[in-house]
Symmetry: C2
DNA sequence: TGCTTTGTTCGATTTTTATCGAACAATATG
DNA sequence: CATATTGTTCGATAAAAATCGAACAAAGCA
């Protein structure tokens, strides 16, 4: 599998980022990554099928919320916290700290 | 016209708030209110028809993002910044400061 | 009362997103 | 090579949101 391309942080846009975060499955992914740092897709799938999850990861990736690194068969995801904070200061902190 | 009912700040939920903010028309409304403090609907309508705008105000109101006060024929809107910040610290600041 | 202003509600579309099974691709391992 | 593991892609459907004209409602004013 070829590496994904990720948007440059200079091109992050607020609305796609907010839309990416405004979904229960994706917010859960984001919060889990906020705790564990990095995780592959499989460990983040709850009850939903793989194809649904793949879609959610794509939305998160394309908006800039997370980065996916390929290692063997696994795709390891992590939040792009520094870049997000540079572009939207305080946003991810607010999301991750929210009750 | 009877007064609107607004959700209590204790019942604000993150996903509806994010969804409310993740729309171009609504984000523009929010940013405008962030600058001017209070405004009636008419001054916030750009090119879109009234019925569309009424819908956007409803979404913002029901999620807790803004409050609508009726004064005569006009409906005056303002952000619920203190309450939002109490529940989601830093969130609205991040939104309003974002490039 | 009749007219104007401000905004809502209704109803019908259209557009956008989410969902998920099935087939596929890439890597690793026996 | 055969098989398992991990995740993507495709395609069809369903669900959710946005859009907007037209009719309506409330308040103010001549």
């Amino acid at each position: 599998m070829a590496a994904y391309d990720h948007p440059d942080s200079a091109t992050f846009e607020l609305i796609p980022v907010l839309r990416a975060l405004a979904d229960p499955a994706r917010l859960e992914i984001v919060r889990h990554l906020g705790r564990v740092g990095e995780a592959n897709c499989a460990t983040l799938i709850g009850t939903r099928p793989k194809s649904s999850m793949s879609h959610h990861f794509q939305v998160l990736r394309e908006s800039g919320v997370l980065r996916t690194r390929i290692e063997g068969v696994q795709h390891r995801n992590s939040l792009r916290l520094e870049e997000l904070d540079a572009r939207f200061p305080g946003l991810m902190a607010a999301i991750l700290n929210a009750a």
